[in-house]
Amino acid sequence: MFKKFVPKDDVSGKSKVKSSVQRGIRAKILEQYPALNPYIEELIPKKDPLVLVKCHDRLNVVMVNDQLLFFNHHDGPYYPTLQLLHKYPDIMPKVQVDRGAIKFVLSGANIMCPGLTSKGARLDTDLPVDTPVAVLAEGKEHALALGELKMSTSDIKSINKGVGVELVHFINDGLWHAKIEA
């Protein structure tokens, strides 16, 4: 989604949202990431303006105090930016790719099932299709990417063919490097 993201070309508008909208966004984020409850006032202080950065193809990025925190696409689930996820690494379910898959992910490719089932990969939790997941990598501490499950984890294991995780955001993509001025 952000492989070729360039704020200069892809951002269509920015707006401070009304406080009622801000409360709604906060609530939705907490519903999805309850582990952030103790930290939400730090991340999205009630008194600070929340800026919604609107991008092409109905992509919205939540920005507070010049920090890009979350985004969603077509009003779908919110995803944290990877910088935020690195700071709060356990807020969402994880899958792990093997070392061999890292360079493909870094070039923006979707993750094929074998990269999730081989030795070195991990699928510890049973998760349904469409779940937003953090993508960890063999031998690395910090998340490499974020994605959405295209099959349930049990299907990934049993079918073991095709795309298992659609790549949404990865370190070194356009969003990772994006600096957007309020």
């Binding site: 582990a35 409850n37 930290y39 690195h86 700071k87 690494p89 356990d90 370190i171 990772w176």
Partner: protein
């Protein structure tokens, strides 16, 4: 792993816990967490940066590189895999390609006293051509338009004998366009 915090207060509503890692070190060269520098395509620069920044972390991140050796690129080269070298060569090639990109400002005589200036290559430096054309038109109070050339890329054509003025304006407006990469040429009428 740095300070991690567990939230399991029993009096409070129980949220699922998460660690909090406030001080992740991102590479000053490639911007990735330093454990991913090996994939960045700028490995020797990343290594140099980390070595200057934090010797202990450097030793942990690159256990195969001997710290007693002098900080020289040749030393570091040996710690690189074939793939890392390849990625680095690719990055170097891209840098070279970038250095070879040119903005060409060409003066074309249309008749005895009329001429136009054709500006090509600005898009290589991330310049929005439509906005640039508009800028030229307002600055020089003349007509400027974006047109497709036979190569299939876009040029800006500005009416009037303003080649030098365009040169100055380009240098002044777009810092990312180095002066040595701007070429002034003359062309025949079309």
């Amino acid at each position: 792993m740095s300070d991690s915090e567990q939230h399991a207060d029993d009096a409070q509503p129980v949220w699922p816990p998460t660690r909090v890692l406030p001080d992740i070190l991102y590479c000053g060269v490639c911007t990735l967490p330093i454990e991913y520098c090996e994939f960045a395509g700028t490995v020797s620069k990343c290594q140099k940066w980390l070595r200057n920044k934090d010797q202990a972390l450097f030793a942990k991140t690159w256990p195969d590189i001997d710290l007693s050796q002098k900080l020289e690129e040749t030393t570091i080269d040996e710690g690189m895999t074939k793939e890392q070298k390849k990625a680095e060569a690719k990055a170097a090639q891209e840098a070279k390609k970038k250095a070879n990109q040119r903005v060409v400002i060409k003066r074309i005589e249309r008749s005895k006293r009329k001429c136009v200036i054709e500006v090509s290559g600005l898009e290589l430096f991330g310049v929005d051509l439509k906005k640039a054309a508009k800028l030229f038109a307002t600055k020089f109070a003349t007509g400027a338009s974006v047109t497709k050339n036979p190569q299939g890329t876009d040029d800006i054509v500005v009416q009037g004998d303003v080649q030098d003025d365009i040169y100055d304006l380009v240098v002044e407006t777009w810092e990312q366009v180095p002066e040595e990469q701007i070429e002034l040429t003359e062309g025949k009428k079309k």
